[in-house]
Structure formats: structure tokens, C-alpha cells
């Protein structure tokens, strides 16, 4: 069983976007204040809103389209771990942009999508809450990096050690 074209497109589109977001996020926050830093922050927020919209679209689509089953050759415990890992990825893909959005509001810098569409502030400006949400956003991202490493490591293990089709069924041409 193969993944559908839609599932593949959404998976790889988000893979590229999320790697970009992670790299940008870790890079930009240590920069000294400059016009470029402010520009990168805006881009990061716009990309984050885009990622959130994509994950919403992806989840909606997935409700109606079950992904192909895991192979029977996989032990039950590994199947459980795979499902738990994917659930974790989805939860983080929702929680991370939400924490970024709330952090922006609490820090007093509203998110305005592409500089045009203001995303409402759910929180008032508050330094303590802003700092706390910054820590939450960072911690969730570190957790995301760890789960992603597991996700990629597992896919490579399936391909090179188990020699099953878990990796290839998500590749563009299969």
C-alpha cells in the first residue's frame, strides 16, 4: 500500500517548511537587533502561520483518508511506538505554532500574516507570560527535534535494516 499523492505532497511540503522554520528559529533568536533580525522574525511568523494552516488541512484530509497500514512483519510494540510517534509529531505541529502565536501576543508584537492580515491577539501584553511562552516555544521545539530524529531514524532503519517499503511508500515516485 502506497500513500496517496495528496498525503505525499503535504508530507514533503511540510518537511521542507518545518526544517526551514526550525533552522531559522534557532538561528535568529541569538542575533543582535538589526533590520534583518526583525525581517527574519516576521518571515518566521508568516511561515509558522502557513505551517499551522497546512497541518490543519492535513489533519482534515487525513480524517477522511486513512494512511496505509503498517506491515504485519512489525512487532505490535513497534507498531504502537510508530503510532505514538506520529501522534506526537501532529500534537507538536499544532502546539508549536500556537505557542509562537501566543508568545508574540504576550510580548506585544502581534502576528500580521504577510504584513497584511492581522491574526488576533488572544493574550494581552505581559512580560512574565511572554517569557514563559518563549520557554514553552523553545522546549516544544527541542522536543520536536528529538521526535523528528526518531521519525527520520526509524524511516532509515526500515529502509536499510528491515528492508521494507515504509520509507519508499512516502517517496514521490513509487
Amino acid at each position: 500500500m502506497n500513500y496517496t499523492k495528496t498525503a505525499k505532497v503535504l508530507h514533503w511540503l511540510m518537511a521542507i517548511l518545518l526544517f526551514g522554520l526550525l533552522a531559522l528559529g534557532f538561528y535568529m533568536h541569538d542575533l543582535p537587533l538589526s533590520p534583518d533580525k526583525l525581517k527574519l522574525y516576521s518571515w518566521h511568523k508568516w511561515a509558522g502561520v502557513t505551517a499551522f494552516l497546512l497541518v490543519a488541512l492535513r489533519l482534515t484530509w487525513r480524517i477522511a483518508h486513512r494512511p496505509p497500514a503498517l506491515p504485519d512483519s512489525m512487532p505490535k510494540i513497534m507498531q504502537f511506538a510508530a503510532h505514538a510517534g506520529h501522534l506526537m509529531l501532529y500534537l507538536l505541529m499544532i502546539a508549536i505554532p500556537l505557542s509562537g502565536w501566543l508568545m508574540s501576543s504576550a510580548k506585544g508584537f502581534q502576528t500580521v500574516y504577510f504584513g497584511v492580515l492581522p491574526i488576533p491577539d488572544l493574550l494581552d501584553k505581559n512580560k512574565e507570560i511572554g517569557d514563559l511562552l518563549a520557554l514553552v516555544h523553545k522546549s516544544l521545539n527541542l522536543l520536536f527535534v528529538a521526535v523528528l530524529a526518531g521519525h527520520i531514524g526509524a524511516a532509515l532503519k526500515h529502509h536499510f535494516i528491515d528492508k521494507d517499503d515504509i520509507l519508499t511508500r512516502m517517496l514521490p515516485k513509487h
Binding site: L38, K39, G115
Partner: protein, 183 residues
């Protein structure tokens, strides 16, 4: 002679009735600003300013106001922002610690509306500004509310890499509330 005494008495009676607002209440006054950063409206404020005020609603032509805003007291909403705008490209607070507004003519526009012409000096540059304000009273307290727009480039605020307006817009809205009591 009697007429002169009467005139003095009348003048005295009038000046006793006229209320002149002179005592600015810093804790009930605020100078805020809003600017756009890549389309995002960001608010800030100045925490410290000194002022001299003489305002009698019956004699607006004689009104006088001077404000000295301590630029280092800026609150941009982020500590690194506060540090940045104190520096040379922005306010250069070491060389120019205060911004000063001195009122010129005060024109009543009817009702409780006034138009205050004046000169605003920041970072060694002086510009004429016209500030619309409303004045409302409650007991012996009067409150001025108003806002006006300045262009940061007119005062060389944000030089060098910040000089373009693609990241930080040129227009800055200054919003104030000045509460003053009469003696």
C-alpha cells in the same frame, strides 16, 4: 479713584473665578507612541517627562506648555529594543538626552477642542508641529488628550541600516494624556 478700586476689585473677582491648570500629575499622564514594523503596529511609551503648563480655558491665547521627555526612559516593549533606540542611530541619548516640545499659539476650535502649534526638538533637530487636543475637566482636574504624527526621518531617528522604512515605518503616532490640576 473709586472707579479704579472697583476695576481692581472686579479684575480680582474675575481672576479668582478663572481656573488655571498648572500642576501636571505625572502618575495620571502618559506619552505613548505607536509605529509600524513590517505592517505590525507596535506600542511603546516614555516613562519620564518633566513639564510646565499654564492653561486657562477662558484665556487659551495665553496658554503655555513645555514638555521635556527623557528619551532614555523609553519602553519599546522589549529590553533589546530599549537599548537599541537609546543608541546613536536612534535617539543617541548620550548626546541628546531629552526631546522638547514648546507650545506656540493655542487655537480654540470650539467645544473642548484645541489646536496647539508648537516646536518639537529631538536629536538636535527642530520641527514645527500642530497638535490637536481635547480638554475635559472634572472638579479641579483637567485632562488633555490628543495625538499627532511625526516622521522619524525628520529628526534622524533611525539612521544607517534603519534609515529605510521597509522594516520600521517613517510615521510614528504620538499619543498623549496630560492630567493637570489647578492650584
Amino acid at each position: 479713584m473709586k472707579k479704579i478700586i472697583l476695576a481692581f476689585a472686579l479684575a480680582g473677582a474675575f481672576s479668582a473665578q478663572a481656573v488655571e491648570y498648572t500642576q501636571v500629575q505625572p502618575d495620571k499622564s502618559a506619552i505613548n507612541f505607536t509605529y509600524k514594523q513590517m505592517g505590525v503596529a507596535v506600542d511603546g511609551k516614555f516613562k519620564k517627562f518633566a513639564s510646565q503648563l499654564n492653561f486657562d480655558p477662558a484665556k487659551p491665547a495665553a496658554a503655555k506648555a513645555t514638555f521635556d521627555v527623557e528619551l532614555a526612559s523609553v519602553d519599546t516593549g522589549a529590553p533589546e529594543g530599549d537599548q537599541e533606540v537609546a543608541g546613536k542611530p536612534w535617539f543617541n541619548t548620550k548626546a541628546f538626552p531629552t526631546a522638547r516640545f514648546v507650545s506656540g499659539t493655542v487655537k480654540p476650535l470650539g467645544g473642548n477642542k484645541y489646536e496647539v502649534a508648537g516646536q518639537l526638538s529631538i536629536k538636535g533637530k527642530t520641527q514645527d508641529v500642530v497638535v490637536p487636543a481635547t480638554f475635559t475637566t472634572q472638579g479641579n482636574t483637567g485632562v488633555f488628550d490628543g495625538s499627532f504624527i511625526i516622521r522619524r526621518a525628520d529628526f534622524s531617528i533611525g539612521e544607517g541600516t534603519w534609515a529605510k522604512f521597509d522594516i520600521v515605518a517613517n510615521d510614528v503616532v504620538i499619543k498623549f494624556r496630560i492630567t493637570a490640576t489647578s492650584k
